[in-house]
């Protein structure tokens, strides 16, 4: 299947008719209690918190991609541009019911940004306690789990992609921005003894 056929998959239809849903506040609270407990556990070392969230996300991504493919029946994308469209309009749509904006493509079409709506289902009602702890504003990426999910999921469809936050409205930035950079298309593994 190709570009033309992927456009036929409709995230809205799948979301409306084929997705079991739960209250997004419940999801927000659950994620929030995980982040705040990790902050306490690691004694407010926010790099550790980011890394632990990234690992959770990565493991989720490895599994979630299969459910995504099974649910959408989406075909292989022919370009990275098309992949990012699918991530936004299908992936984010059917799992989090949001459709991030895609912006800021590099001239080689290998890097771009996903702009998350504000608030998003991870950050609703969240305010970082900036007065108590100045480090948190500089170091914590509250929604880091999303980077892990995307990196893990893309790895499974043979895409080596760097994914990280560059801006977050929780830190006072003007928007919440995830940067994606395609490193390479991974080759299919070859059975032992073949070239």
């Amino acid at each position: 299947m190709s570009k033309s056929s992927n456009n036929r998959y409709n995230g809205d239809d799948i979301w409306k008719n084929n997705t079991e849903k739960i209250n997004s506040e419940l999801f927000t609270l659950t994620y929030g209690s995980i982040v705040s407990q990790l902050c306490r556990d690691f004694n407010h070392n926010y790099h550790e918190v980011n890394n632990q969230l990234d690992k959770m996300g990565y493991n989720i991504g490895l599994r979630l991609i299969e459910e995504f493919l099974a649910k959408t029946g989406v075909g292989r994308c022919s370009t990275f541009k098309e992949t990012v469209e699918v991530i936004s309009k299908l992936g984010f749509k059917i799992f989090l019911n949001i459709t991030p904006q895609i912006e800021n493509w590099s001239s080689d079409n290998k890097s771009c940004s996903l702009i998350l709506p504000d608030p998003n289902p991870l950050t609703e009602f969240v305010e970082l306690p900036n007065l108590k702890d100045a480090e948190i504003l500089k170091e914590l990426w509250y929604s880091q789990i999303l980077c892990g999910v995307l990196r893990g999921a893309l790895q499974m469809v043979q895409l080596d992609v760097d994914v990280n936050f560059v801006k977050d409205t929780l830190r006072g930035d003007d928007k919440t921005e995830i940067r994606l950079k395609l490193n390479k298309f991974l080759k299919d593994e070859v059975p032992a003894g073949e070239d």
Binding site: S5, E67, L69, A70, K71, G73, E189, P191
Partner: protein
């Protein structure tokens, strides 16, 4: 019409599931028990040959077309030997689902898709006690547990599903 066996290979080219159904006449009297063997020939030469032939056919099929311009990839779906037809489906995550049947069964793509999108998702992906990266270990006992799909629900449910098909026997 008969389904003889069901195989899954992962993207590291390892056979992570091997199910061979036996169809001798004495077995047919007893439908309640499943007969045949599970995960006994994953590392056999037969499995390696099967993978090799699929790999070669896949490589060949992609060379027959210009992938840049063709709207539909020249995907391998099945091929036929004198007595057998081999049905093939590969997910975008490079999991390969294979059913070996007699030549009277034309097309099992929807069955292969069902095995992936329903049974594999439910019993492996959504089962946190099941690995999804199947590491082949030198330790035979460990390999039995982590190098293959070996959970009872997957085996039992896919058996039931395949046996319920009119083409099974």
């Amino acid at each position: 019409m008969t389904i003889y066996s069901f195989h899954i290979f992962d993207r590291h080219c390892n056979c992570i599931y091997n199910r061979e159904y036996s169809h001798s006449s004495s077995d047919n009297n007893n439908n309640s028990t499943t007969v045949g063997i599970v995960n006994k020939n994953n590392d056999s030469n037969g499995s390696k040959l099967l993978f090799g032939i699929l790999y070669s056919l896949k490589s060949m099929s992609s060379k027959l077309i210009d992938e840049e311009t063709s709207p539909i990839p020249n995907a391998l779906k099945s091929f036929t030997l004198g007595k057998f037809r081999i049905h093939y489906f590969e997910s975008l995550t490079n999991l390969k689902f294979i059913l070996i049947t007699d030549i009277n069964i034309d097309n099992l793509q929807h069955i292969l898709w069902e095995l992936y999108s329903n049974y594999y998702i439910k019993n492996c992906i959504q089962n946190s006690l099941s690995p999804i990266e199947f590491k082949i270990s030198d330790d035979l006992k460990e390999n039995e547990l982590t190098g293959k799909i070996n959970n009872h629900n997957f085996i039992h449910q896919t058996d039931q599903f395949l046996q319920s098909l009119s083409v099974f026997n």
